[in-house]
């Protein structure tokens, strides 16, 4: 059974290593500061005992006030998981550091989020529309997008 590490438990250790990185925690997720996402993710990937080597999924949700990007991390070795969350309050030009350097699996998913949600991932090698065509107006996954 994959053990879902509780956010509070993990946050306590992380806060000492990278101060100011964690904004909030919940039972199974940690909310990470935008700037320290990369260093924190690198830490999670390499730290013995954690070793989150597998990035299951990336999602973005539009909450009107802010966008939330959600990373599902799993460790194949220790069989435990954690949910990382990042928020982005800029609606006009949202940007978040890209995790492609750590997990190649993020490549297509970040590209898709850029296409459908309009969040730019900084440092992504190929940040362009993936499923929709160039010239499509708007980003359909946003809540204020009207289909017709």
């Amino acid at each position: 059974m994959t053990r879902a590490i509780s956010g509070e438990e993990l946050a306590a250790g992380l806060e000492q290593r990278i101060p100011g990185s964690i904004i909030g925690t919940s039972k199974e997720s940690i909310l990470v500061n935008n700037q320290s996402l990369l260093s924190l993710a690198a830490h999670l990937k390499t730290e013995p005992g954690l070793e989150f080597d597998f990035l299951s999924s990336i999602t973005a949700v539009d909450y009107y006030d802010y966008f939330e990007v959600i990373y599902q991390l799993t460790s194949l070795e220790h069989n435990h998981s954690i949910v990382l969350k990042v928020r982005c309050h800029d609606r006009e030009n949202p940007a978040i550091p890209s995790l492609v350097g750590l997990w190649r699996g993020a490549e297509l998913q970040e590209q898709e989020i850029f296409d459908l949600m309009g969040i730019r991932f900084e440092g992504h090698p190929n940040m362009k529309r993936i499923v929709l065509w160039e010239g499509f107006q708007g980003h359909p996954q946003r809540r204020d997008f009207l289909s017709w």
Binding site: M1, T2, D53, F54, L55, S56, S57, T59, A60, V61, D62, I70, Q72, L76, N79, V83, W103, R104, G105, A106, E107, L108, Q109, E112, L116, I130, V131, L132, W133, P140, Q141, R143, F145, S147
Partner: protein
């Protein structure tokens, strides 16, 4: 003498016989060798995730059928499990068992198509896929018995199933799982040591363990590379913890290993179905849940299952209304394409098609 050569850009797809739907690759060739490839998606982007926001939770079930249309039952199950987790709906025992039977049958059907079309991509003129579709038809018949549909079943409901299986189903299922191993033996005889098949697939498209994990590959792709990671064992959902089965793994991570993994998984699925049939309890197949509208409490949930292609995850956000606020689908086919470039570059066009066939994608799930 210096001869100037210029690479050739070859557009493979979207309407190409072996791109399994409408996938497109923009390949740059040097002679016959592919030196660069750029996958292009979106030719079947139907906006399923957006449509989910416009529909109630119940109304979205038929759309999940059309995600990975080769394994519709598995998608139904994954989505229903996500909503059940979100709204804390209990599922009766019998329903869980029937779900497992359906999911495993669907896994066999999906792998049959995967292996068949993979061999078709290798150039075996239609024969393997026609034989494998012959077996798939038997599974489709079983599904038709329970749901009335041949491809898009819409069979599962929150808290169970839409209806119990008919009386004729179990004898028919027993007959099928008694036959299936024999068919698999037949395929092994024909294909396992076929010289040309070995020459075409062994060592072709090697995906190393590290790359597979780093690229978030799941399913037979990951297991073909030698990582024994199967959500049915690693994170047992439903009643999978009560069954005995093995996780077949490849050694080298080449196309042949992936093909073998799929064949072996079919045998394991037969094993699971046999055990599930023996343990199948009697009782209701649906807990007391509202038929039309459910209003899960506000919150979010990520639920994943091991679909034939890999980890199929549903990320649902509820705001307490009758429709999901956000529904994200982690399509395994889509993410399995991350390593496409690494696997294909440096191989010939013919190999590229074989490697691509061994990934086994379904465009409905890639573009969603």
């Amino acid at each position: 003498m210096v001869m100037k050569t210029e690479p050739l850009v070859l557009n493979i797809g979207p309407a190409h016989p072996s791109t399994h739907g409408v996938f497109r690759m923009r390949a740059t060739l040097d002679g016959e060798v592919i030196i660069d490839v750029e996958p292009i998606f979106g030719y079947l982007h139907r906006g399923i995730e957006k449509l989910a926001e416009e529909r109630t939770y119940q109304q979205f079930i038929p759309l999940t059928d059309r995600l990975d249309y080769v394994s519709a039952m598995g998608n139904n199950m994954a989505y229903c499990m996500a909503v059940e987790k979100l709204a804390a709906i209990p599922v009766p025992e019998r329903a869980e068992y029937i779900r497992v039977i359906m999911a495993e049958l669907q896994r066999i059907a999906s792998h049959l198509i995967a292996v068949g079309s993979f061999l078709n991509d290798c150039g075996a003129f239609m024969t393997p896929i026609l034989y494998m579709v012959r077996e798939r038809e038997k599974i489709v018949d079983l599904f038709e018995m329970v749901s009335g549909q041949r491809l898009t079943y819409n069979y599962m409901r929150f808290g169970g199933l839409s209806q119990d299986v008919p009386d004729e189903f179990l004898p028919a299922l027993r007959k099928f799982i008694d036959q299936m191993p024999r068919y698999l033996d037949e395929y092994d005889q024909l294909l396992k040591e076929n010289e040309i098949l070995l020459a075409r697939t062994k060592g072709v498209g090697i995906l190393s363990k590290e790359t597979a994990i780093n690229c978030s590959m799941t399913g037979p792709m990951l297991r073909g590379s030698g990582v024994p990671w199967d959500l049915r064992k690693a994170d047992p959902y439903s009643v999978y913890s009560r069954f005995e089965f093995d996780i077949p793994c490849g050694a080298r991570g080449d196309s042949y290993d992936r093909y073998r993994v799929r064949v072996e998984e079919m045998r394991q699925s037969v094993r699971i179905i046999r055990q599930a049939m023996e343990q199948l309890p009697v009782g209701p197949v649906r807990s007391k849940t509202p038929v039309m509208l459910i209003r899960p409490p506000a919150g979010e949930v990520y639920s994943h299952v091991e679909s034939p292609k890999g980890e199929l995850g549903f990320y649902l956000v509820s705001d307490g209304s009758i429709a999901p606020y956000r529904c994200h689908i982690r399509g395994p086919s889509f993410i399995n394409l991350t390593a496409l470039r690494e696997m294909i570059v440096g191989w010939k066009v013919a190999d590229a098609i074989v490697i691509f066939g061994s990934i086994d994608i379904v465009m409905g799930e890639v573009d969603r």
